[in-house]
Amino acid sequence: MSETRLFSVLGIAPTRDGTAVKRGYFAALVHHQPQTDPEGFRRLREAYEALSDPAQLAAAYASAPLNLVELEREYAVRFDSKIAQAAQSFIARERQAHAVASFVEQFAGTSWEQMLYHLELPAS
């Protein structure tokens, strides 16, 4: 049986807790009695025996699929608006810095007379 399916056979969420595995087994046993559902019981027993081994339990827990969509949403809530905000203020700062640099580039080094000429201002 694939490691990723072991927890679902017991009807529990992936866990590292051996007691939770035992609880899940006995809860599932009610629905898969050996007399009435021998195949279900065999699967249940197989999963329980596998998860009773600490090394296999650890490996199954680590390899159990995660809800990545949900995780992505959590991280989006945690970071995305902050990142967008930081990006906006960064862009604004950059635009300002760029404009100031252009202003300095344009006027620092030009003479007073040239400045008046460029701005089409009267010399006196």
Partner: protein
């Protein structure tokens, strides 16, 4: 135009002027002022901002050097010294030089005057300067013009408060490679607190990237995971990243294929495993996953690196065992091989039972690969220690692998000593290199590998050494033919006392067993044993069958036995008469009569 030489002269002139008493300065002010203004203009045209600041500093308390107020040269000098101070960020001085110009500009263009005022105050504003910027020509990509991406020079955060906005903006604007290298560089230059804050936030952002990339898009996230590992290491596994470390490891472990066939996948998982294993609570989980990974040969080397890292923290059987199995198939791992052999050796000496249990738990194929590799690549001492440690608990299937190990070690020793030698190791002499190995393991393997008996007896070092081997050999098999084999080997070794001892044991053990004795007689006939021995068997058989109902094969044997005994009665007097010992008849042997049983 004022040249460099003249600027130098101007400096000297102004300096000398400044040394004069105030009342004498008035006499020189016109001439020196002219020199000063010319020098300022020269430095302004050359954009020599620091020199302009120096001029501004020297002249700020001297009236008249800048010319008459409102004059053209006055404005030019003030304009130049204003910009010199602005650019060197001497805003107070800039304000001082700009002040007379501001009034003039307010009359001509109040907006520009305000923009300049903000500039000299060190608080330039986009809204104020924008109207005075020249419009740039529009670049059209269709004409082959691509707007060049302006390289942003990021300012390193200097306080903890600056870390978050800077890093978040960095992540928003730059590809991850730039983020990772920038944070790494900044962390080297920052204070401890700022560096810590940077690693922490950047690590969390790396987790976000891993989640994003592996979630919807199934992209590789190697560089992000690697960065996260570096962050955990740099921060010495802070508790606040523990959950993130586990999360990244689980994400990658869950997406690994059932058999990893790419080194890139292994590397990605390796980074996550190293980060997670930095937390003691996650280590068992990491070890459990890593030791159960199946990977192709190409992906084995990075995995060996990970196993080494984990084994350096604590050398567990599962890790070392996994590494040993990987080493059997990964030839490109000379770096880690000595490490794991040492670790394996230590485990053997300290926790032999664990090694034994691990070996028992392997599949037949893995056991075969391991023992074959061990015989070829490990020292004889390690093979010996391993065999002695696991033999007692080994199942019969495992013992077959261990016997193959013995055979391969002997074969290797033979080949190393006589490279041209090939063929059956049991028929070759024992190589000197393997003597200690063989002496240590022979009594263990003999009961399970009787095929080694002759080799063991032939290669015994002395009579004392031979005796226990013979006794062990006799106990290997209750069949009389096996005992005859042992007797025959000892006889060929020309060890008379031991030959007689085996003879005695045989006759004692089977003296009343007519069937076994008959079989012994027939075997002796087939193998042409010396007549003296055959007669002893014959006597025993004749004595044993007295008064018994005979089966055909016993009857055949009896006929042979009686013939041997008769030949002795007739041969002995003839030999005595001729003065020589009796010898075995040189006549061609004939099958025993009247039985239908024909010895082959």
């Amino acid at each position: 135009m004022v040249g460099a030489q003249n600027v130098k002269e101007a400096e000297v002139t102004v300096h000398a002027f400044m040394q004069l008493p105030v009342e004498e300065r008035a006499l020189q002010i016109d001439r020196v002022g002219e020199v000063f203004r010319a020098a300022v203009q020269a430095d302004y045209r050359a954009k020599n901002w620091s020199k302009l600041t120096s001029w501004a500093h020297q002249a700020e308390n001297v009236t008249g050097l800048d010319g008459s107020v409102g004059s053209f040269e006055f404005c030019e000098t003030h304009w130049a010294l204003t910009w010199g101070s602005v650019i060197t960020k001497e805003f107070e001085r800039a304000r001082l030089w700009y002040e007379p110009l501001h009034a003039l500009l307010m009359q001509r263009s109040p907006d520009f005057a305000e923009a300049m005022l903000a500039m000299v105050n060190g608080k330039p504003s986009l809204e104020l300067v924008a109207p005075f910027l020249k419009a740039k020509p529009v670049l059209d990509p269709r004409l082959g013009y691509e707007p060049s991406r302006k390289k942003v020079s990021w300012v390193m955060p200097s306080t903890e408060g600056e870390v978050e906005p800077t890093l978040l903006a960095l992540v928003a604007q730059e590809p991850w490679g730039v983020v990772a290298s920038t944070v790494t560089q900044w962390s080297l230059k920052s204070s401890e607190a700022v560096s810590k804050a940077m690693w922490l936030l950047a690590a969390q952002l790396a987790v976000r990237e891993v989640v994003k990339r592996t979630g919807a898009h199934h992209h590789q996230a190697s560089s992000h995971v690697e960065f996260f590992r570096k962050a955990v290491e740099a921060l010495r596994a802070p508790p606040c990243l523990s959950a993130d470390a586990l999360l990244i490891f689980r994400i990658l472990a869950a997406k690994m294929p059932s058999e990893i066939d790419s080194a890139a996948h292994t590397r990605e998982l390796t980074h996550a495993a190293v980060a997670a294993s930095a937390y003691g609570a996650h280590r068992p989980l990491v070890v459990a996953v890593v030791t159960q990974l199946k990977c192709a040969v190409s992906a084995g080397v990075p995995l060996l690196g990970l196993l080494e890292h984990l084994a350096l923290q604590a050398s567990e059987m599962a890790l070392v065992g996994k590494a040993m199995l990987l080493l059997t198939s990964t030839v490109e791992a000379p770096r880690v091989q000595p490490f794991f052999l040492r670790a394996f050796s230590t485990l053997l000496s300290q926790q032999g039972t664990l090694v034994s249990e691990w070996f028992e738990g392997l599949s037949d194929a893995n056991r075969f690969h391991l023992t074959e590799w061990m015989a070829a690549a490990c020292s004889f001492e390690l093979s010996q220690t391993f065999l002695l440690a696991v033999w007692s608990q080994a199942s019969s299937r495992s013992r077959r692998s261990l016997i193959a190990l013995v055979e391969n070690v002997l074969l290797r020793a033979n080949h190393e000593e006589v490279p041209a030698e090939r063929g059956d190791v049991l028929n070759a002499p024992l190589a000197a290199k393997a003597r200690a190995f063989w002496a240590a393991v022979r009594t263990l393997v003999l009961p399970d590998a009787p095929e080694f008996l002759e080799f063991a007896l032939v290669n015994a070092q002395s009579g004392d050494d031979l005796n226990p081997l013979v006794q062990a050999g006799l106990g290997l098999n209750p069949d009389v033919r096996h005992m005859l084999d042992v007797w025959d080997i000892v006889r060929r070794l020309k060890h008379v006392a031991l030959t007689n001892d085996v003879e005695r044991q045989l006759l004692t053990r089977y003296g009343r067993d007519t069937s076994a004795l008959a079989l012994a007689v027939l075997t002796a006939y087939e193998r042409a044993f010396p007549l003296s021995f055959k007669r002893k068997l014959a006597e025993a058989l004749v004595a044993a069958v007295e008064g018994l109902q005979l089966t055909p094969h016993i009857r055949s044997a009896l006929v042979l036995a009686q013939r041997w005994l008769v030949s002795r009665k007739t041969a002995q007097p003839r030999a005595a008469k001729a003065g020589r010992k009796s010898k075995t008849s040189r006549k061609k042997r004939t099958p025993p009569p009247e039985s239908g049983f024909v010895p082959v």
